[in-house]
């Protein structure tokens, strides 16, 4: 059976059919997006950055971009309400749902708007950043997003302004979007000295085949502090392939946190450019991969200026026939002296059929740097299990406890308490063992 999307021009045709009235600069960038996609095509095994992803199902359909929003499935209401105290925007099938939005009075100097709205009224404020940062040459899906997005979010926080509550952006897929693609686009700009928390949530109904390709661009000004959390809970037949790009100015601090449990195929690429002296980035992620799921985190951390720090920690728990990939790059450019960069990846295999790939990579072109990476794959410690068993803890409970301890380390640094509790609950819900024991943890 020949794959529909292998002749990738179906997406090109779809692009040509669109008639948009947009400023010239944007049309150009969209054109560059579709060209980047045409050039790469759907990923295949011979593309180094995509060699473990089995796209089989994805190429069998032409996922047209959704043009109408369906209704939010009941099962997803709790997900949409995660972190109750927040400024919230909800999107269904890539389009904004006004009925779900909940924006209290924003502090002065903060603007949180839908991308389509900004584009309509004052497109010029976008020209400087939108679709300029995210790199498309290694990411066909981000290329598609650039070509097709219809809506999304623009969050601007002025210099020396602090957000009072986290901003929650929820992207849901409805039953109506079967075999469709959604391309949410987010632009976050933090002025000098600004401080903010953003939580981006992705979810969809179970048993539905769809494609979600979100792209987020973060521009962190000098001495700003941006904490970005991504919660990925797509439906078990959905595919989530997205990209987050962050550009850090002098002394900017970025904390990226990823929590991935859903999707049949899930992949997120974190690009972090430490572009000026003193920038700091912390990336951490937890992937819980069940039977038949594929989960993938790629990181591209580039030290482009001296005196920058970065720390990456990613942990995975794999069950059944799960497959996971962690591929992390630390790149230190020529002249980026005094770089301090660390990277850790730990994988816990709970089943003999689980497969973990771990590719920590270093590319170093400067001599006065401290770079280290470590990677481990293993099972639960027999001694620790034995200890718990000898204290009268049942086998399942003991396994659950130890796995929880392993994974919980990744949730500790989450600063938004409501989110941390939510993720913790999700985690313990997936673990074996008695509920009463889980109370203890």
């Amino acid at each position: 059976m020949s794959a529909v999307a292998e002749a990738n021009s179906v997406y090109l045709d779809e692009f040509r059919e669109l008639s948009r009235t947009e400023p010239g600069w944007l049309a150009e960038r969209r054109e560059a997006g579709i060209r980047a996609f045409e050039q790469q095509g759907f990923p295949h095994r011979r593309m180094e950055a995509w060699r473990n992803l089995k796209t089989g199902g994805l190429t069998q359909h032409h996922y047209r971009h959704s043009i109408a929003a369906g209704t939010v499935p009941m099962a997803l209401t709790p997900t949409a309400a995660v972190v109750p105290t927040a400024h919230r925007l909800v999107f269904v099938d890539g389009l904004i749902s006004q009925s779900h939005a909940m924006i209290d009075t924003l502090p002065e100097g903060v603007s949180l708007r839908s991308l389509a709205q900004v584009l309509e009224h004052e497109p010029d404020v976008l020209e400087q950043d939108l679709a300029l940062h995210a790199e498309l040459d290694q990411h066909p899906f981000a290329s598609l997003n650039t070509a097709f997005w219809t809506d999304g979010v623009v969050l601007d926080v002025d210099a020396d302004t602090q957000l009072d509550k986290p901003v929650v952006l929820v992207f849901l897929t409805s039953e109506a979007a079967e075999h469709q693609a959604s391309y949410p686009r987010v632009l976050i700009r933090a002025g000098a000295g600004a401080e903010l928390d953003v939580i981006q949530v992705h979810a969809g109904p179970a048993g539905l085949s769809y494609l979600a390709c979100p792209v987020t661009e973060i521009v962190a000004g000098a001495n700003s502090s941006v904490r970005f959390h991504q919660l990925q809970e797509e439906g078990d037949a959905g595919a989530h392939i997205g990209l987050v790009h962050a550009q850090l100015d002098r002394d900017a601090r970025l904390a990226l946190h990823g929590f991935s449990v859903g999707g049949k195929i899930a992949r997120t690429d974190f690009y972090v450019n430490l572009a000026a002296e003193g920038a700091q980035a912390t990336l951490n992620g937890l992937y819980l991969v069940g039977d038949g799921q594929y989960s993938d985190y790629h990181t591209w951390v580039r030290h482009q200026a001296p005196h920058c720090n970065s720390h990456q920690t990613f942990k995975g728990v794999l069950e059944g026939r799960a497959e996971s990939v962690f591929d992390g790059l630390i790149q230190v450019s020529k002249g980026a002296q005094k770089t301090d960069s660390q990277q850790q990846n730990r994988n816990l295999l709970l089943s003999p059929r689980a497969l973990a790939h771990s590719n920590p990579r270093l590319e170093i072109y400067a001599d006065d740097v401290k770079c280290a990476h470590g990677s481990t794959v293993g099972e639960l410690d027999e001694d620790a299990l034995f200890y718990l068993r000898s204290r009268g803890v049942g086998e399942q409970d003991a396994r659950g406890l130890l796995t929880f301890a392993f994974a919980n380390e990744m949730l500790e640094p989450v600063t938004v308490e409501a989110l941390r509790d939510y993720e913790r609950q999700r985690l313990s819900g997936l673990l074996p063992g008695d509920a009463s024991v889980k109370e203890l943890s």
């Binding site: 180094e48 020529k334 002249g335 002296q337 994988n347 295999l349 709970l350 089943s351 003999p352 059929r353 689980a354 497969l355 973990a356 790939h357 771990s358 590719n359 920590p360 990579r361 270093l362 590319e363 170093i364 072109y365 400067a366 001599d367 006065d368 740097v369 401290k370 770079c371 280290a372 990476h373 470590g374 990677s375 481990t376 794959v377 293993g378 099972e379």
Partner: protein, 486 residues
């Protein structure tokens, strides 16, 4: 480590010590590659029909392949039609006594003992002999201590001789570890390999001396394509050394070798390499392209294969000595020191494929990059679903000397068994000011201090080398790094 600075100075002046050319009558094949050339080489070697067929099949495979481009190295495309695939000294000796004195002189100059006298190579114990097979361009010019080894049933000879004298062994094992279509350069080698060493250790025999092959590229516009095959039968043990040098030439010469090791039950093979091909001048002109496929198969239970390599030469190195751990409880080891300076580029590492139960592997890789050197460690640790209790430990450290060089690490880990324990660590650093200061305030000169620190950095690997090689390797390292420290 205290080689006097006089030695260092003397050696530095020479730059690349082995860059001389031996003026000797040679015959060589016309440049270019075709089925005819493959037939010509096979005929030259008086090979049986099946060997020729095997070569031709490999050649046809090769025609359909493209050169790999995933390695982190840059080089202009190689014109495979401008290389001569066969070069040999005109007077082929019948025995060691008949070897052209000029050739013997060459090997003496290189410090290779070609006379079967009770000489010692670098150590004072006096009774350690090394049996040497010397390969000059495309042919083996002599093998020492053959009789003594034959007493124990050990076969140590050139590959061409093995094809003629022991066809059943060669036929059984050749291509069994590195199939002829394995990769672009292995396919090329399979088609045109000219010589190399063949070692067979019978059941239960511990080889009484180190076996060694010395490769010398002499002729211009040629490539060297040797093939080495080592078979260790049940319960046997062998330690094998390999050294290589080439003259200084402005052109890039291609060296595409294949090494296959087979260790049966309880057998152990230790394979050490000191690679010192001509690296090219400081502007990156000339030098050897070293594109080598080396792989060992731990076929039987409790077998062990250990690779040690010291890579200081070559303009470009592309080399991944690997272990396939098929037997239960088998062990794979990889110890490597790689130095790149000038415009050298190296992409080297290993693959450990765990298939048997309780298999263990250790990877220790030390990379030193100086000048404009580019260096990558690229490794793969794969644990198959059958490999319960597999263990791996990898450590890859890089040292950077100067701000124009680069060091990269690309380890791949694919684990498919929950009982597997895999650990990987890597660090990148430079010689710290504190260390240097400490040494210098104790009256140790800057250069010696650097040498001291570098040697300490490489110690884990050097201590696994046979004694003679360890001494040579340490010296080599000092000479190599000499002018890059400032």
């Amino acid at each position: 480590m205290s080689a006097s600075s006089d030695t260092i100075n003397e050696l530095t002046r020479k730059g690349y010590e082995y860059g001389f050319i031996t003026d000797i009558e040679q015959e060589s094949a016309p440049p270019g590659l075709s089925e005819d050339i493959v037939r010509f080489i096979s005929a030259k070697k008086e090979e049986p029909e099946w060997m020729l067929e095997w070569r031709l099949e490999a050649y046809r495979n090769w025609l359909e392949m493209t050169p790999p481009d995933w390695a982190h190295v840059n080089y202009p495309p190689i014109d495979f039609q401008s290389i001569s695939y066969y070069a040999a000294p005109k007077n082929q000796p019948k025995s060691l006594d008949e070897v052209d004195p000029k050739l013997l002189e060459t090997y003496e100059k290189l410090g290779i003992p070609m006379h079967e006298r009770e000489m010692l190579a670098g150590v004072s114990s006096g009774n350690r002999n090394v049996a040497v097979d010397a390969v000059f361009d495309s042919v083996s010019v002599g093998t020492t201590y053959k009789d003594k080894l034959a007493e124990k049933g050990i076969i140590f000879c050139s590959m061409s001789e093995a094809v003629r004298e022991h066809p059943e062994l060669v036929r059984k094992y050749i291509g069994s570890v590195v199939p002829r279509g394995d990769n672009f350069f292995a396919a090329l080698n399979s088609a045109v390999f000219s010589d190399g060493s063949f070692v067979y250790i019978p059941k239960g025999v511990r080889c009484p001396m180190e076996l060694s092959t010395y490769f010398r590229m002499n002729a211009g516009h040629t490539g060297q394509f040797e093939r080495t095959l080592i078979i260790a039968e049940e319960g046997s043990h062998v330690s094998y050394l390999e050294g290589c040098t080439a003259p200084m030439r402005d052109e890039n010469q291609l060296h595409a070798a294949v090494v296959e090791l087979v260790a049966h039950q309880d057998a152990e093979i230790k394979y050490s390499t000191v690679q010192n091909w001509y690296p090219g001048d400081e502007n990156g002109k000339g030098g050897i392209f070293n594109f080598v496929t080396k792989r060992g198969l731990c076929e039987g239970a409790n077998s062990k294969i250990s690779w040690t390599q010291v890579e200081t030469g070559s303009a470009i190195t592309w080399k991944y000595p690997s272990c396939v751990l098929r037997g239960d409880n088998s062990v794979g080891e990889f110890y490597s020191v790689a130095v790149t300076r000038g415009r050298q580029q190296a992409d080297t590492g290993t693959k450990m494929i765990h298939m048997g139960k309780n298999t263990r592997s250790t990877i220790i890789s030390k990379g030193i990059s100086a000048g404009h050197g580019q260096q990558s460690y690229r490794g793969l640790v794969r644990v198959a679903p059958t490999a319960s209790g597999a263990r791996n430990y990898s450590q890859c450290d890089s040292m950077l000397i100067g701000d124009q060089c680069a060091a990269h690490t690309f380890p791949y880990i694919d684990a498919q068994h929950p009982g597997a324990h895999i650990e990987h660590e890597a660090t990148t650093s430079r010689i710290s000011e504190d260390q240097l200061f400490y040494c210098m305030q104790r009256g140790i000169g800057a250069e010696e201090a650097v040498s001291l620190i570098v040697n300490g950095f490489c110690r884990d690997v050097f201590k696994t080398l046979p004694m003679e090689f360890a001494v040579e390797a340490q010296k080599l390292l000092e000479v190599t790094l000499e002018d890059s420290v400032g």
